[in-house]
């Protein structure tokens, strides 16, 4: 008998991918939020909704996820701490031995909550930081004091020995501050990840796309030699894991080893892919996971079969996302503007790096 110890990422997930086990699930336990971020894809409200899953319903779904083989569970929202029963749900999830990550804006995390999270052995708490200064962060969230509360939460978590992570959506409005956010993260000893893609809203509204980085800003970001492959993420995937999926040919992990459960019980391919594969109030989770036509379609689709993309020479550099394709065009397999632009910019950076006259030519290309 043997126990082997290895880096966290791939071994279990590779088994899950092979066996189609929903190893990694995001559970959006509420759509309520106390902030009003300009770029948020969730059309949220600062009030309860009658369709929100009850405490008992959430617990029942957690039971079903544990039985289905889910190990990595991310609680999200809205703002999950807006639910009065949220810590009870975390406690219940821990009795089922999930590895728990919490995506939060951090504003509702005080010393007592941190103590409770520590007792519950929560694996990670990811806090969205949208600027290095309160004026910028609070300007984006629409709430004065949200920056100082988020930073305070990061400090409390770090001091308590819980693993915090800074997550930053980089867009026009905070582009100038992303180096300062990195400096702040390093000074606090907290890992960070930057995402340069603003998605359309989950009601189909495309108004947020104008917030995306300009082409020059995007190129400057991906060409920043101080950023490692795990510092940048595209559609929730870092460059390293995305490269692996591209080689295997899947569109992404959605329906393969990952899915999302919405606040009203809808089972979605991911947080941004607003097409329900079924609802846990009407069907068992495992039946939806195994049998829904949507998940079967995603499992069978391969990048090299995409009708509009299969012959594109930029496909190896492309971080196309079926959710964004669906939001922007109504077809998860269609090509869409944001991905085409980003792939072209990636290629321009790659070419400039290969040019011996370019001072950055020795930098190895990320993609």
């Amino acid at each position: 008998m043997d126990s082997t110890k290895q880096p966290l990422l791939y071994h279990a997930e590779a088994t899950a991918v092979k066996k189609r086990i929903p190893y990694n699930v995001i559970f959006e336990v509420t759509r309520r939020c106390n902030l009003d971020c300009t770029m948020c894809y969730v059309v949220s409200h600062d009030s309860a909704h009658p369709d929100e899953l009850s405490t008992d319903e959430v617990k029942d779904v957690l039971d079903q996820l544990a039985a289905a083989g889910t190990l990595k569970l991310t609680f999200s929202g809205g703002e999950p701490f807006m639910r009065p029963d949220f810590l009870d749900l975390v406690e219940y999830a821990r009795t089922l031995a999930f590895s728990i990550d919490i995506l939060t804006n951090g504003t509702l995390i005080g010393p007592q909550t941190v103590q409770r999270l520590k007792e519950l052995a929560v694996w990670q708490v990811s806090i969205s930081l949208l600027g290095a200064r309160s004026e910028t962060h609070d300007g984006i969230t629409g709430k004065s004091g949200s920056f100082s509360r988020a930073v305070q939460a990061l400090r409390l978590l770090k001091e308590a020995g819980i693993k915090p992570r800074i997550k930053t959506l980089v867009m026009k409005r905070n582009f100038d501050e992303y180096p300062d956010i990195i400096a702040m993260a390093k000074q606090m000893g907290i890992p960070y990840s930057l995402d340069p893609t603003v998605s359309s809203r989950n009601d189909g509204n495309l108004d947020t796309l104008d917030l995306n980085l300009s082409e020059n800003q995007f190129k400057a970001l991906i060409n920043n030699p101080s950023l490692g492959p795990r510092s940048l993420s595209f559609n929730g995937e870092d460059l390293q894991s995305s490269r692996k999926e591209r080689l295997e040919g899947y569109l992404c992990k959605a329906g393969i080893s990952f899915c999302d459960i919405s606040w009203n019980g809808d089972v979605l391919p991911c947080m941004q892919y607003q097409q329900s594969a079924g609802n846990v109030r009407k069907q068992r989770f495992i039946d939806i996971w195994r049998e829904s036509p949507l998940f079967i379609m995603l499992r069978n689709a391969r990048r090299h079969d995409l009708p509009e993309c299969k012959d594109c020479e930029l496909l190896p550099l492309c971080f196309r996302c079926p959710a964004t394709a669906f939001l922007e065009t109504g077809d998860p397999l269609a090509k869409y503007e944001t991905a085409c632009i980003q792939a072209r910019l990636m290629d321009e950076v790659r070419v400039s790096r290969a040019d011996p006259s370019n001072e950055n030519s020795e930098i190895q290309s990320n993609p």
Binding site: M1, T15, A66
Partner: protein, 94 residues
């Protein structure tokens, strides 16, 4: 050792996937995977079995002589319960 009760550290995240236990240590976020027999021992480490009872079960269920089962179970439990790993807890029975 034989009359000690074995239980899983409640801070460990774990799941059994295709007869293989996958454990994530809360202490260092490292992933551990157990082979088939190790996974069976992990299942049995629910706070209701002593080391001796686990040895009996492994002896019954696998083609192994009693001496080897005892040696391997004790070695496995001791390793996972070590201060370095802290995945199992070995305690006096009530």
């Amino acid at each position: 050792m034989l009359d000690r009760v074995v239980s899983r550290n409640k801070d460990v995240a774990w799941r059994i996937i295709e007869n293989e236990a996958i454990l994530i240590s809360a202490e260092d976020s490292m992933l551990h995977s157990l082979d088939e027999v190790g996974t069976r021992i992990w299942e049995l480490s629910d706070g209701s079995n002593t080391v001796e009872q686990i040895i009996d079960t492994i002896f019954d269920e696998y083609e192994v002589d009693r001496e080897t089962a005892e040696k391997d179970v004790i070695e496995f439990v001791t390793n996972l319960a070590s201060e370095k790993l802290g995945l199992l807890i070995v305690s006096e029975s009530d």
